[in-house]
């Protein structure tokens, strides 16, 4: 009787779900202490109401963007902590020594590292930038669907919470970040780890899909009058490419995860070893999403570099049209290469050859972009400030990593390197060197626009050098280890292999990167407290080219007091050079009202996800109902906007552009 009772209310949840050993207890306590610490801080400083009104219920894309970036940075720290454990284990778990982690725990950490870094750091920073910059660059006051945008963020947040809950209750997938079956099937992974993985990605993935649709429509439908597509800043083009990929790739992920969940929960045979399932179909489907995902992340990064290089070289971007074509070529090609992730699965040589050649072809548009940036710098008046440093670091790393990629595009070579640390070195060079460096460049570059003061340049440079040197130290050994036969997710190896020195060098490199992260945190804190010396009063600290720099810093909530006037590319640059003044009258502005419903919908999704992981069906029903009812309530509401009068806008505009800092 007691058993049935507990089974109904708690599903599979019981005391054994608590962490089994000291290291895992430490992780769990750390995870609990963060929200508790935040809650105490908010209570002591009496900021709950402020948090609710200014942030939790906001529909302003700039604030949502900031929240994305805060979550992503917190997750970067979590991912970095995972790295510390991985690298320690790999340096000392040799021969008779078994290191500090059990094999299964090590695999969980590696899986969590990959999952978190891709879905909650890289994607989070990317969506943060979309929110902050896209509306400003196209001269819009908002995104196409503000409420949907807030919902997307909160779904992302819910997915993040679910991943981190696995530290406290139960375990995480020990399957690698893409959880191939049959290992990820119930039979071989009977704990809730894979379920946490599935449902956090499912929830965050729906958020990403909705966000992708939103920004696609924003760019296609909300550009200011006069800005046709070929006059858009290059960052917006790259976002357009990225959102097209999101819209058409993320549904595949949703299906793939759902089918795996059905296999685990209701006994279907999609990917099982028996029963007429086909596990190779999982690999096929997940990479049909997974390869476009790489370009979803890297295209906006390319866009950031295009902005940074043009601004800091004080020149028009070289080869604008070829850049656009390169982006669109990459969008298409990225859907025709997915098999290169599983050359070794045993398709015929015709199939492997086709996808190998397509993979090599994708290097061409990418090369076009690299040369365009270099030609933009050629004879430009280059200022080597830290965003530019990140760009140069990117060119070096991305070229090395890219060449390694072309190597692996040759199927026979891939047969040797597949699943080795060589591959790990390759894709970290692309994602850290390509995406993360771009995010750092972007944060440095646009920080004054959002917060009204610059980040400390000196600390920024130190952080950059730590990252670059640490990165090379950490990953060049992995290329070598890969050639020597070291596989990925390796938690123990024989002493006679002679790999230990290289693993230790790699760990030292990771530590140097860690110092870089520390310096970046210091940079944020220091710049905040010394902000009076770094204030950006002009609104245009870098002599920028696109519309966002025409607004005062920090950007007012309405973005533009008057809709900007655009006739050609680099509209603000042209306006500055010709000293154009806008004499049109102010107009009323519509602003979406705040609402907690977006957060409630996502909370319902979180409850649903958690409930399905633990088979607590009553909670699943409640969670789902919460989301659906909130959605219906919202859809019935026809008064979701408020009007701000022209006189008020005029008053605020004079106040802000008068150089008064808030």
């Amino acid at each position: 009787m007691m058993h049935v009772f507990a089974n109904f209310w708690l599903g599979k949840l019981n005391l054994q779900a608590l962490p089994p050993n000291a290291i895992q207890w430490f992780g769990a306590l750390l995870m609990i202490s963060v929200p508790i610490g935040l809650a105490v801080f908010l209570t002591v400083t009496k900021r709950w109401k402020w948090l609710y009104k200014e942030w939790l219920t906001t529909q302003d894309p700039k604030k949502i963007g900031v929240m994305y970036i805060i979550v992503a940075v917190a997750m970067l720290l979590r991912g970095a902590a995972d790295v510390a454990l991985i690298k320690t284990q790999q340096s000392i778990s040799v021969g008779h020594s078994m290191g500090i982690l059990s094999s299964s725990h090590f695999q969980q950490i590696v899986t969590a590292h990959g999952t978190i870094m891709i879905f909650f750091v890289a994607m989070g920073l990317m969506f943060g930038l979309f929110n902050l910059i896209v509306p400003l660059q196209i001269g819009a006051r908002d995104v196409a669907f503000p409420f949907l945008n807030a919902t997307s963020f909160w779904l992302f947040f819910s997915g993040m919470v679910l991943v981190n809950l696995s530290l406290i209750l139960g375990d995480f997938a020990a399957t690698g970040w893409l959880a191939y079956p049959p290992l990820s099937e119930l039979r071989y992974s009977p704990t809730v780890g894979v379920d946490y993985w599935i449902w956090s990605l499912e929830i965050a993935g729906v958020g990403s899909l909705l966000s992708g649709i939103n920004f696609l429509v924003t760019i296609l439908k909300m550009r200011v009058k006069g800005m046709n597509l070929m006059k858009m800043p290059m960052f917006c083009w790259s976002v357009l490419g990225s959102t097209l990929l999101i819209a058409f790739a993320f549904p595949i992920l949703t299906v793939c995860l759902t089918l795996l969940a059905l296999d685990r929960d209701i006994g279907t045979h999609f990917f099982t070893a028996g029963g007429g399932g086909n596990m190779m179909m999982y690999v096929n489907l997940i990479w049909a999403w997974g390869h476009p995902e790489v370009y979803i992340l890297v295209l906006p990064a390319f866009g950031v570099y295009s902005e940074v290089v043009a601004t800091f070289s004080r020149k028009r971007l070289f080869g604008y049209t070829s850049m656009v074509w390169a982006i669109m070529a990459i969008v298409l090609l990225s859907f025709i290469v997915w098999l290169h992730h599983f050359f070794t699965m045993g398709a015929g040589s015709d199939v492997n050859a086709f996808f190998g050649i397509m993979t090599m072809i994708i290097a061409i548009p990418t090369g076009v972009k690299i040369f365009n940036w270099l030609f933009t710098m050629y004879r430009g008046k280059i200022r080597l400030e830290s965003p530019m440093l990140w760009f140069i670091g990117f060119v070096v790393l991305f070229t090395i990593g890219g060449m390694a990629g072309v190597m692996m595009a040759v199927p026979p070579i891939d047969f040797q390197l597949h699943n080795s640390l060589f591959l790990i070195a390759h894709f970290h060079m692309m994602i850290v060197g390509g995406v993360l460096f771009a995010d750092f460049a972007a944060i440095t570059y646009w920080f004054p626009k959002i917060f009204g003061f610059r980040l400390n340049e000196r600390l920024g440079r130190i952080a950059f050098w730590c990252w670059l040197i640490g990165f090379l130290l950490s990953f060049i050994p992995l290329y070598i280890l890969g050639f020597m036969g070291a596989t990925r997710r390796l938690d123990h190896y024989a002493a006679g292999l002679g790999w230990q020195q290289l693993f230790i060098v790699s760990a030292i490199g990771a530590a140097v990167i860690g110092i870089g992260v520390g310096v970046q945190i210091l940079q944020l804190v220091y710049s905040y407290f010394s902000r009076r010396n770094n204030l950006d009063l002009s609104g245009d600290p870098w002599d920028g080219r696109s519309l966002e720099w025409s607004t005062p810093s920090p950007v007012p909530f309405y973005n533009f007091a008057k809709t900007p006037h655009v006739t050609e590319r680099d509209a603000f640059w042209v306006a500055k050079r010709h000293n154009l003044k806008d004499t049109r009258p102010y107009e009323d502005i519509e602003i979406p009202k705040n609402t907690p419903l977006a957060m409630i919908i996502a909370a319902g999704a979180l409850a649903f996800g958690f409930a399905v992981v633990w088979h607590i069906w009553w909670l699943a029903v409640i969670g789902l109902l919460t989301s659906v009812v909130s959605l219906i309530v919202r859809s019935m509401d026809e008064h979701t906007e408020r009007i701000i009068k022209a006189e008020e806008i005029e008053r605020l505009d004079k106040l802000y552009s008068g150089g008064l800092s808030r």
């Binding site: 097209l244 096929n284 049909a288 298409l332 098999l339 699965m345 398709a347």
Partner: protein, 130 residues
């Protein structure tokens, strides 16, 4: 623009208006969909054609009905320039083609190179004998 006349206004405004539905369109769409469905059904149930011809015919009928419903129910192609809806749809169709055709090609290639059950049993027996 200051000499805007009433006719111009109508033209200008109609270019921004959502596509208007018409009874004629729905009737044509419904009628032809019924005919196409019934043809496909009767073919599949009573048709005595070779399988490849049958497949080709049924696929053609499905695509025809797809086109009919796109035009008459979903009003595809009736928007004014830039035809964003059409462009997004064509992109989607390209991606869907790549995904479905590619998956089938890849999976058939993989399946064709797998042992069937008989071969596998034989292989396992050989392994045991060794």
């Amino acid at each position: 623009m200051s000499s805007l006349r009433a006719d111009d206004v109508d033209v200008l405004v109609s270019r921004h208006q959502p596509e208007q539905a018409t009874l004629k369109g729905y009737v044509i769409g419904f009628g032809s969909s019924i005919i196409l469905t019934m043809t496909a059904y009767l073919l599949a149930r009573y048709g005595l054609l070779d399988k490849p011809i049958m497949v080709a015919l049924l696929a053609t009928l499905a695509l025809a009905q797809f086109a009919v419903q796109l035009i008459y129910f979903l009003h595809v192609g009736r928007e004014f320039s830039p035809r964003l809806k059409l462009m997004v749809m064509l992109t989607m169709m390209l991606i869907v083609f790549i995904l479905v055709a590619g998956s089938i090609w890849i999976m058939n290639s993989l399946n064709g190179r797998m042992m069937n059950t008989k071969q596998m049993v034989q292989y396992m027996n050989n392994q045991n004998n060794l």
